[in-house]
């Protein structure tokens, strides 16, 4: 039988560890097998199952851009058995990766449009992939706005990149922290993401909004976008339901008739209207 065992991961080496925020790290992973590395390809929005051998698997998006070849990156918070097992690994250690899984952000369809990225907390990683993808193909898009918020200054991830994006003349970068989360020298906004979106008020004209964050943030950001004139097909998000297999079999991420792992994780708001909101 020549069938491939879907559950057998690629072996990866942790090439680089970046400490992002308290309990949050980014790992750059390289394929141990060169032929696997050569054959591997993915697109913005896809995810994978990451193994800490001895602890199990955990689901994260691929946080690096497909335009950056030779490695993938994942950003995770040390919260459970697998992520704490991952967090204890050092540079040079071996991890497992299965993927890429799921659908993609339709960047081709967005050519010639303005893009507004709206992210909250630890949900920036899935966005970071598509942001870099768009920035690396900057000429394909018009105005690019990034609105990113976290609970506190300490909780902002990708701090170096936030600076880099803010310094770029071709990006409008708005960073915010929840009220009470600011420090004395904080120069960004203070306020919850939906409120800041309303203040920044990006024009809906020829614009795509990509929203990524905890369910509560999404719930309150959608109506703001609607008020600003965004139609359901102009708004995209990526869902992160609990998953085990990543390939539509284990049953966990089944929401309505869809499987988040196969039909998603990227959905336009128009598509979301067909699945029950209470289940994601």
């Amino acid at each position: 039988m020549s069938e491939k065992n879907t559950y057998l991961p690629y072996l990866m080496t942790i090439d680089k560890v970046i400490k992002e925020a308290p309990g949050v790290k980014t790992y750059r992973l390289k394929f141990q097998d060169e032929s696997e590395a050569a054959a591997f390809d993915f697109q913005a929005g896809q995810f994978g199952e990451y193994s800490a051998f001895g602890e199990g698997e955990s689901t994260f998006c691929i946080a690096s851009s497909p335009t950056r070849k030779g490695y993938i990156e994942c950003t995770f918070r040390d919260t459970g058995r697998v992520t704490s097992g991952m967090a204890s690994l050092e540079e040079g250690s071996t991890m497992g990766f299965r993927g890429p899984y799921g659908n993609v952000f339709p960047l081709d369809e967005w050519k010639g449009k303005n893009l507004v990225f709206i992210a909250g907390g630890i949900a920036l990683p899935p966005m970071r992939c598509v942001i870099w993808n768009a920035l690396d193909l900057r000429e394909n898009f018009k105005d690019i706005t990034i609105i990113y918020g976290a609970k506190s200054v300490n909780d902002l991830v990708y701090k170096e990149e936030l600076k880099e994006w803010a310094d770029r003349p071709d990006v409008r970068m708005v960073t915010t922290v929840d009220p009470g989360g600011q420090t004395a020298d904080w120069t960004g906004e203070v306020g919850f993401v939906p409120t800041i979106v309303e203040t920044v008020a990006p024009s809906a004209e020829n614009t795509i909004a990509i929203v990524c964050g905890p369910p509560i943030m999404i719930k309150f950001t959608f109506p703001v976008l609607e008020k600003l004139g965004f139609t359901d097909s102009q708004v995209y998000t990526t869902l992160e339901n609990r998953m085990k297999c990543g390939v539509g079999k284990c049953g966990r991420c089944n929401v309505g008739k869809l499987y988040i792992c196969k039909d998603g994780p990227v959905f336009s708001k128009a598509e979301l209207n067909f699945i029950p909101a209470e289940e994601y």
Binding site: E3, N5, L8, F53, E240, K244, V247, C250
Partner: protein, 336 residues
């Protein structure tokens, strides 16, 4: 497809030749007051007077816990050993009910709809199914309402319909079935013109799948889920005895530097099934989980996989500690 007659004595001889061929044979055995599939060596071990085994035969192609691969850690490096399909022995399932054999299709649909599941398929390839049509049913049986019947041959390699003389009509349905016949061809005699239907239990359909599907399409926000599930205590008995329930978990079995990754049965009825690490649980209440069970089987699977996720075996109703009777519940949805 070929139809033959096999006498009672011939059946016993044939059974012995299957055992002698070295294949594993699983058959219903009555022990501890329960009838369930067990490894058998003699026909005398096989249970006779019962309606249904407690558990389905799904474990034969979807084990309760199965090693997906093993690994060994060595100074920061990891060596993987893939699952080897050759380790799975040739298996014959004897005296399977048609509702169990019909379960292979929905199971395989789940495991293979998008990408092939090497492990499940490896079991399928090595498994031959000898079903016995049903001469008896009880109030929990409803195969005829879900595209099945007491003489349904779907999923079987051979189906036997036992006759009053102890012999049987043998329908040889697949090349695998032919291979089993080839173990002892002389006992398969020319058919005698027995009418199979005459020996099957009469089980009128209780609802129409199309009607149920149409109702379910509009039922997500119905109060019926809360009403029906109030007494449900949220265990996994229904899912684990079901021939088509396939939800699973992936777990780690670690012994020092060695480890095994294991796939094991899980159930959408468990409260923690969909719990996110953040604490958010999209299906927090039992009513939502009950809805998922019914919609997945009778709406999502028919729509996505073109197969209904229920074979009408009635096991969930028999196993439920609080009488969550699926036939009663589906019938009431159909009538709404």
């Amino acid at each position: 497809m070929e139809t033959k007659y096999i006498s009672q004595g011939g059946m016993a001889q044939w059974f012995e030749s299957i055992i002698a061929s070295g294949k594993r044979v699983y058959a219903p055995v009555n022990s501890r007051g329960q009838v369930d599939f067990k490894l058998v060596k003699n026909l005398s071990e096989v249970a006779d007077d019962y309606i249904q085994t407690t558990q389905s035969i799904k474990a034969s192609v979807y084990p309760k816990a199965e090693v997906l691969f093993t690994y060994e850690k060595d100074h920061g490096k990891v060596n993987l050993s893939d699952f080897d399909p050759e380790t799975i022995p040739e298996t014959v399932l004897w005296k399977v009910h048609p509702c169990d054999a019909a379960g292979f299709k929905p199971l395989s649909a789940i495991f293979n709809w998008d990408s092939a599941d090497k492990l499940h398929n490896a079991h399928l390839v090595k498994t031959s199914v000898i079903s016995f049509s049903c001469a008896k049913a009880d109030q929990s049986c409803f195969c005829t309402s879900v595209n099945g019947s007491p003489g349904n041959t779907a999923g079987s390699d051979i189906q036997l319909t036992v006759l009053p003389d102890g012999g049987a009509i043998a329908e040889i349905l697949t090349p695998k079935g032919e291979a089993l016949v080839a173990l002892l061809p002389p006992v398969f005699e020319a058919e005698r013109g027995d009418k199979k239907e005459q020996y099957l239990v009469d089980l009128p359909a209780r609802f129409s799948l199309e009607e149920v599907n149409a109702k379910l399409n509009k039922a997500f926000n119905s109060t019926v889920w809360k009403e029906q599930s109030e007494r449900c205590i949220g265990c996994g008995a229904c899912a684990f005895v079901c021939p088509t329930c396939a939800c699973f978990d992936i777990q780690e079995d670690v012994h020092g530097s060695k480890g095994r990754r294991i796939r094991c049965w899980d159930a959408c009825g468990f409260a923690l099934f969909t719990l996110h690490t953040s604490g958010h649980n999209p299906r927090e209440h039992q009513s939502q989980r009950w809805r998922q069970r019914i919609l997945h089987k009778f709406s999502y699977m028919p729509d996505r996989l073109s197969v209904v996720g229920c074979t009408g075996c009635g096991r969930c109703s028999r196993a439920c500690p609080v009488d969550m009777n699926i036939l009663e519940h589906i019938t009431s949805i159909a009538k709404q």
